[in-house]
Amino acid sequence: MEVGAVVCLPRLSRVAVCGGTHGNELSGVYLVRELLKVKKKVMVEEEEESVSVVIVLSNPRATQQCHRYIDTDLNRCFTHATLNGPLSDTTPYEIVRSRELNTLLGPKGSSQAVDLVCDLHNTTANMGMCFITYSDCDWICLHIFRHLQMEIPDIPMRFIHFDVSNKESYSLDSVGKHGFAMEIGPQPHGVVRSNIYTAMKGGVQHMLDWVRLFNSGKMFKGGFVDVFTMVKHIDYPRDSVTHNITAVIHPHLQDRDFCLLHPEDPLFQTFSGETLRYKGNEPLYPFFINECAYYEKGIALSLARKKRVMIPPIQVETS
């Protein structure tokens, strides 16, 4: 690919902003409520607006109870298999809901799907603002990320890539033609911190501004983005009988998301004070360090490789 060749992409006519996919991740819950309120007040003609924005509270029952989920994690219910399997009286609430969302925002994989899904999340890990996507070459998402980096320079921002095929992709953001999770931490679940909320509000606003600019024909220059590609997860050491954890994230690692972890660096501290070290053979970047919801998924931290991705200039297609 020639550096300088502008890539032309279809306009983004419909964008979805989703919050409360996990009902206790409150920045997204309150932001979606606020955006719905504002939308009611501002009576803008749809034709005037270059983009139609759908604002969704993804998991209303879990939000009402301030729980991550009712029966099962909604953000794992968007595989093709789950979306198209049989339904019964005992189908978990979140699977019923994932189909409703697929009807509203999809169908996943079809030409009717929304152009972009931005799914709002919080984490107890000290990750700053992160975009999480399935692709390291979705120029729309990468350009939006770069735009936010430039517009909000005082917030640490990283682009995380899970190398999962479209067939296996499982999260809400995979329903749109383009999609990403906007993950901001640290924030305890069940709490809204004003600095985190404000960062998320700014992130969503700048994203929508970018979409309007893109649709209006602006050409966005190419450049580079550092992409963190997930390599593996590490679980806590556990008791073989009770399965309870027997060590805690080491104090030298706690809160050090995206600080390079070298072989032999401290990883865990047992309750008797012993240090357990990272035994991998390459240095990797840790993230989701001590995320509350991942204890039950067997993840103490995730590890990523960093690479520099060159992104081409892009502009909206004119037909």
Binding site: Y30, L31, P188, I245, I249
Partner: protein, 313 residues
């Protein structure tokens, strides 16, 4: 209040309980108690029977604050004497069981001391919670702990407020002591928070051992923060929260809040100011579990209490 010359003679504190998991998702206490139930070497002291105990096992298993109702509000006289057995909410059944084993509350058979281990999402650091300004044993213990961990800080929160005081698990004992360490998200175990709680308990047990051996603790003063008022989030007509703790107040537990200072920030960016009549010291700022209890923070006032000299009878 005793005069400085009188030493209060108190019965020895032999039976001591350490409660974890009163809220099932406050992980430091759950982890410490499970550890000590497996191996109690660390909590052994001469002349002290220290019993670690998980108060709310079902909530711990689900990693949730409570199953039916908040256990740490359940120890009311009505609940403790309620008939109904299995039909009662789970935590009321638990309260009755705990009262049988460690109480009865208010009787001479009750445990001498109960430490109840808690975490908070608020930036409270290490906090000891006192339920009575006249509990000279507890005041002396708290003074001992504060001196032992200095220069690290451990503050004392006094909740004797007639309306805001609540019926805690620890209230079953003659000398109830709350340990609240934060900030830590619910469901998460942080090593620094875990170790801080462990160290406080170590000093607390040391104090009891020394007291039981006959050491006299001279009269002392203890600075406390007395609970004054509960402040809720601003809400709309439907009861929905319409503002967040202001960034200037967030994480500023124990720092002075003056009339006119920013207190809340609405979701569309406006500031709401504190309208009280004087300076207060807020705490429990933005505690996750208190959204449903209509509490954004509590205000406290600083006070100095005098503890009489004490000695084992």
């Amino acid at each position: 209040m005793s005069s400085y010359n009188n030493t209060a003679r108190l019965t020895e504190a032999r039976r001591v309980a350490i409660f974890g998991g009163t809220h099932g998702n406050e992980m430091s206490g759950v982890t410490l108690v499970n550890l000590w139930m497996k191996n109690s070497d660390e909590i052994q002291r001469k002349g002290v029977e220290a019993k670690p105990f998980i108060t709310n096992p079902k909530a711990v298993e689900k990693c949730t604050r409570y199953v039916d109702t908040d256990l740490n509000r359940a120890f009311t006289p009505e609940n403790l004497s309620a008939p109904g057995g299995d039909e009662l909410p789970y935590e009321v059944q638990r309260a009755q069981e705990i009262n049988r084993v460690f109480g009865p509350k208010g009787s001479p058979d009750a445990y001498d001391v109960i430490f109840d281990l808690h975490n908070t999402t608020s930036n409270m650091g290490c906090t000891l919670i006192l339920e009575s300004s006249k509990d000279h044993f507890n005041l002396q213990m708290m003074n001992y702990i504060k001196k032992a961990i200095a220069p690290a800080s451990c503050l004392v929160l006094l909740n004797e407020h007639p309306l805001l005081k609540y019926s805690t698990s620890r209230s079953v004992a003659k000398h109830p002591v709350g340990l609240e360490v934060g900030p830590q998200p619910q469901g998460v175990l942080r090593s620094n928070i875990f170790e801080a709680m462990r160290v406080i308990l170590k000093h607390a047990l040391d104090f009891i051992e020394l007291f039981n051996e006959g050491m006299e603790f001279p009269s002392c003063t203890v600075e406390v923060f007395r609970v004054s008022e509960r402040i809720d989030y601003p809400r709309d007509a439907n009861g929905n929260i319409i503002a967040m703790v202001h960034p200037n107040l967030q994480d500023c537990d124990w720092e002075p809040l003056n009339p006119g200072d920013p207190m809340f920030q609405t979701f569309d960016g406006k500031t709401i100011h504190y309208q009280g009549s004087g300076t207060v010291y807020p705490t429990f700022i933005n505690e996750a579990a208190y959204y449903e209890k209509q509490q954004a923070f509590v205000t406290t006032r600083r006070e100095t209490l005098v503890a009489s000299a004490i000695r084992k009878a």
